[in-house]
Symmetry: C2
Subunit: 236 residues, 2 copies
DNA sequence: TGCGTCAGAATATGATCAAATTATGCGAAG
DNA sequence: CTTCGCATAATTTGATCATATTCTGACGCA
């Protein structure tokens, strides 16, 4: 049994592949699949499975996997076996600490560089997010919440920090899906309104504070869900 | 003209390679080469050059490069070309901010977990470091300074943060060598004595403060050297 | 229950194709 | 006549694939 999630028949089968390399498209596809929790924690990922599912050779798949492993999105499970990492409580606390220190700074920088166009796109993201919450759409919640934060981090104009935080989200992703799937989207508070207000006023300190609170809330949710049962997921 | 730095004839040529995969050894070799500045910033790195120099096929080299690119140790220079990244002032400030927030926390955690054996090894590292400084040995300075900090970060028992900080060092590496090569090792102050004292007393807060000062000093050195002339290195 | 064999999957190599950079040669202008 | 510029060719390099080899895990048999 293998990864049957990536069922999208690639639009460039046989004919021209555009100009983006195959390993790049494989990487991006797998990255999104992991980020939005379509791959469960602990699930094994095989090279040959991906070659047949994506219709590409082994080399691009191999490179994409190596890249995702380097980013922490996948792990070398023992000897020669690759799988989606299972988030332990200790890891979640590490990720939470790093998010709490890095994302407020990114929010501050984003507030200093905020423009009306970015602000409008942020409002769109938040509207989509609230709609997804109202409808109980877990996938939509994850997608739009990520879009919201990623847009802020990109606006901060700090590529290294943004990439680092992105990797943190990549580690949270699989478990976030599990948490949301268990508790639903109804009680998922956020500080996005405060953030948008701070951005609208160009108040960097308020933006930093709001982001700190938002991250702390999210981290608390995850930790609560993780400490509830020490083993996050069982495959028997 | 290519990377002629990695001249070490591999000890396992032809016969058994032990059991570590080839891409792993290639990765480790290249990583150390970059970390200790044996590859100048801006220097191009080619796949085929590495295959001939290291005597391995393209696939292992390719995977190692992909991994190092994901870690920020190498960059995709424009179209399909890989090179050692040139550290800009903005990037250096980002790295400095991240180090200032993450490494003190790692030092605090390390202080909480410090034992006499680790402490002894830290003293050894610092002794070697001071000896290298006294002798003006730039390579030794870089090596032992890294060993000192890496041991602290490993002791903190926070793998994700430690790996993140390690990637930060990987980005500093090439430029550190340039800076030291220009100004020598004579005026390179550090707070290692304060750190060791704090570790010896198990004083977590003092350890965090000492590490913060050490990182701030190092970052200031780099920034000064980088702002002095905007172009770090010239190849003519 | 322990050991041997087998299947499957990952690692690594070489070949092949495509793209880009460099080198070269021809023409035109000063 | 010399020199500069551009276009084209050749070489170098990167990307992908198909294939051989090795290692791990499992199943079956004693």
């Amino acid at each position: 049994m293998n990864v049957d999630v990536i069922t999208s028949t690639n639009p460039f089968s046989g004919s021209e592949t555009g100009k983006t390399p195959a390993h790049q498209t494989v990487y991006e596809k797998l990255r999104l699949t992991i980020l939005f929790g379509d791959l469960a924690p602990g699930q094994p990922v095989t090279i040959q499975g991906l070659t047949t599912q994506l219709g590409v050779g082994m080399t691009p798949v191999r490179e994409a996997l190596r890249r995702l492993i380097a980013e922490g999105a996948l792990t070398h499970q023992g000897n020669r076996r690759v799988s989606v990492p299972v988030l332990t409580v200790a890891c979640a606390q590490e990720l939470a600490f790093m998010r709490k220190t890095l994302e407020p700074e990114l929010a501050r920088r984003a507030a200093a560089r905020m423009g009306p166009d970015i602000l409008a796109r942020l409002r769109d993201c938040d509207d989509d997010l609230n709609q997804a919450i109202a409808q109980g759409d877990v996938g939509g919640y994850l997608t739009h919440n990520y879009r919201f934060h990623a847009l802020i981090n990109d606006t901060a104009d700090a590529p290294i920090m943004a990439a680092t935080v992105d990797r943190l989200w990549l580690r949270f992703g699989p478990s976030l899906r599990v948490v949301c799937g268990r508790f639903g989207t109804s009680n998922l508070p956020d500080k996005h309104a405060d953030l948008l207000a701070a951005f609208a006023q160009g108040d960097t300190d308020a933006a930093g504070r709001a982001m700190a609170e938002d991250v702390a809330q999210g981290a608390q949710q995850i930790e609560m869900a993780l400490t509830e049962d020490s083993v996050p997921r069982r495959f028997d």
